[in-house]
């Protein structure tokens, strides 16, 4: 074997190991979680509203609703701020200021999620309790934290897609007598639509998968929420809270929760890739 073949083999094996990690984890989750679906019934798990593992009830519908609601709230808060921020960075911000802004936004991505959660617990939760009522630990608190946490994803990907547009689009728009804002709104944003949509979908994927920060502020009650001030539990926090002591069917139920989460995130990511590729 010559050196080229050897180095090729080494790289191939290392590359394979990263893929096999994915395959192992996926396989393990499905092997552990799937049997319960057959034992209890798919509908009883996915659409069941009663979660009482010790009594054999494994309904995770409240958690699915919880994940969807918290994520929706985070999207409503984070997307307008994130997209406007990327427009500002690309179109309005002087270079000196954007050199300050960009690292700051990257830093936002570097803060550990437990720190977000801790900050939320000490500031956002009491703020909601004192000003809006309820226990403070709530869907709203989780949405606010996640809305901030998805900003770096949304801002950096939308910024790239706006920046990569050919200069000719903007020139053409301005030459037609459009104002700067009209050029952004009616030419640049539609042209960058696929990139911005991908940014939003990836942000949603990040929000739905986040665990630590939301465990600390959601209150984690297993119930269908009636208001944004109610405490709720998401799919991720369900696993995070109970994994320490779960055994037997209970443990399998947590893996089943993982399967549902896995499928949701897979769908979101494939959707994001599909949109980003369709130009």
């Amino acid at each position: 074997m010559n050196k080229d073949t050897i180095s090729k083999m080494v790289f191939f094996i290392l590359a394979l190991s990263s893929i096999s990690a994915l395959a192992l984890i996926t396989g393990f989750i499905f092997i552990q979680g799937l049997p319960l679906f057959f034992k209890v019934g798919f509908a009883n798990i996915v659409f069941g509203t009663k979660w009482a593992p010790s009594q054999g009830s494994f309904g995770i519908f409240p958690m699915i609703v919880g994940s969807v609601c918290v994520t929706l709230g985070a999207t409503l808060l984070g997307v307008p701020i994130g997209v406007c921020c990327s427009i500002f960075l690309v179109e309005y911000c002087p270079a000196s200021l954007s050199n300050l802004f960009r690292p700051a936004i990257q830093l936002l991505a570097g803060i550990p999620s437990v720190v977000y959660g801790f900050w939320g617990l000490l500031f956002i939760v009491p703020f909601i309790r004192n000003n809006l009522g309820g226990p403070g630990l709530s869907m709203l608190a989780g949405s606010m934290i996640l809305g901030i946490m998805i900003l770096p994803t949304i801002i950096s990907i939308s910024e790239v897609s706006l920046k990569d547009l050919p200069r000719q689009y903007k020139e053409g728009a301005l030459a037609l007598g459009m104002t700067h804002w009209q050029a952004i709104y009616s030419v640049l944003l539609p042209a960058a639509r696929s990139g911005i949509t991908a940014a939003i979908v990836l942000g949603i994927g990040r929000a739905i998968g986040e665990t630590m920060a939301v465990i600390m502020v959601l209150g984690n009650a297993v119930a269908l929420p009636e208001s944004i001030l109610d405490p709720i539990r998401t799919l991720t926090t369900n696993i995070g809270i109970e994994m320490g002591y779960a055994t037997g069917d209970h443990q399998q139920a947590l893996f089943a929760t993982g399967i549902v989460l896995f499928v949701i995130i897979m769908i979101l990511n494939s959707f994001a890739q599909y949109i980003a590729r369709r130009k």
Binding site: A175, T179, Q182, S186, P190
Partner: protein, 261 residues
């Protein structure tokens, strides 16, 4: 011409353009006649495009660009303290080197300009789209395909559509920055025919590297050169026929006979 002074559409008076410290255009004064084609020719880097872009203030987009002197459309100053670049650009359409259609439908590419000026009525927009496409002789070909993406057309049709898009905002003059340079010779001739037709109603300025093209289409020709200090300057500006048959300046003669540039 009875009264040539009244006959100009665009005019520059002592224009000096700087990009930072770089002096790009030196003291350029010229008048562009109404309903005619004026060709700006000259070697690469002599400031032809910069001069063209002073008329619709596209140089404003370049950071550090600074302009001295004044330009006029009709009697209206283009750079005066009261003038607004957006208002000026509504009066002066521009067609670029490469077709730069927006990634949207044929219809929207044309309607987007009038829409930005507040025309919302669907019937009015339909009328403008049809009229603009007829002006560039595309309507019969495209009338059943208006919802298709503009980028699905051939380059020549795309460039025609860019011209239609510029006409849709009802400009008073049209600037064309090497607008045929990305086209094959047959398409170029077709666009040139269109230019001549449009010149019945509009003042048109073209920048071109192609001297045959200048001879074929233009009524007036301006020859620019890089001066000793690297600044672009206007060497000779006259009737196209006169310039190419009997250039007054020996540098013009040198360029058009192919001795340099």
């Amino acid at each position: 011409m009875d009264n040539p002074v009244q006959n100009y559409k665009l005019k520059t008076v002592g224009i000096n353009l700087y990009y930072g410290d770089f002096h790009a255009l030196r003291d350029i004064s010229m008048e562009i006649l109404e309903c005619s084609i004026t060709a700006i020719i000259g070697p690469s880097g002599c400031g032809k495009s910069s001069l063209l872009r002073t008329f619709n203030r596209m140089n404003d987009l370049i950071p550090n660009a600074r302009i001295e002197g004044e330009a006029y459309i009709g009697n209206q100053p283009i750079y005066g303290s009261d003038s607004d670049a957006v208002q000026i650009r509504k009066k002066i359409g521009m067609v670029f080197q490469k077709p730069n259609l927006f990634p949207t439908s044929i219809y929207n590419n044309i309607a987007i300009g009038p829409k930005s000026q507040g025309i919302k009525n669907k019937g009015d927009l339909d009328g403008i789209v049809e009229k603009s496409l007829r002006q560039v002789a595309l309507f019969d070909d495209l009338k059943d395909r208006l919802s298709e993406p503009g980028l699905s057309l051939s380059s020549e049709q795309q460039q025609r559509l860019c011209i239609a898009r510029a006409l849709a905002i009802e400009p008073e003059a049209i600037l064309m920055d090497e607008s045929c340079s990305a086209l094959d010779p047959v398409s170029t001739l077709m666009i040139e025919d269109l230019m001549k037709k449009l010149a019945e109603n509009y003042a048109i300025i073209i920048v071109t590297h192609n001297m045959e093209q200048a001879v074929r289409v233009s009524d007036m020709a301006a020859f620019m050169m890089i001066g000793d200090d690297r600044a672009g300057m206007l060497v000779e500006y006259s009737n196209t026929e006169d310039m190419f048959s009997n250039p007054k300046d020996e540098r013009t003669e040198g360029y058009i006979t192919g001795r340099f540039g």
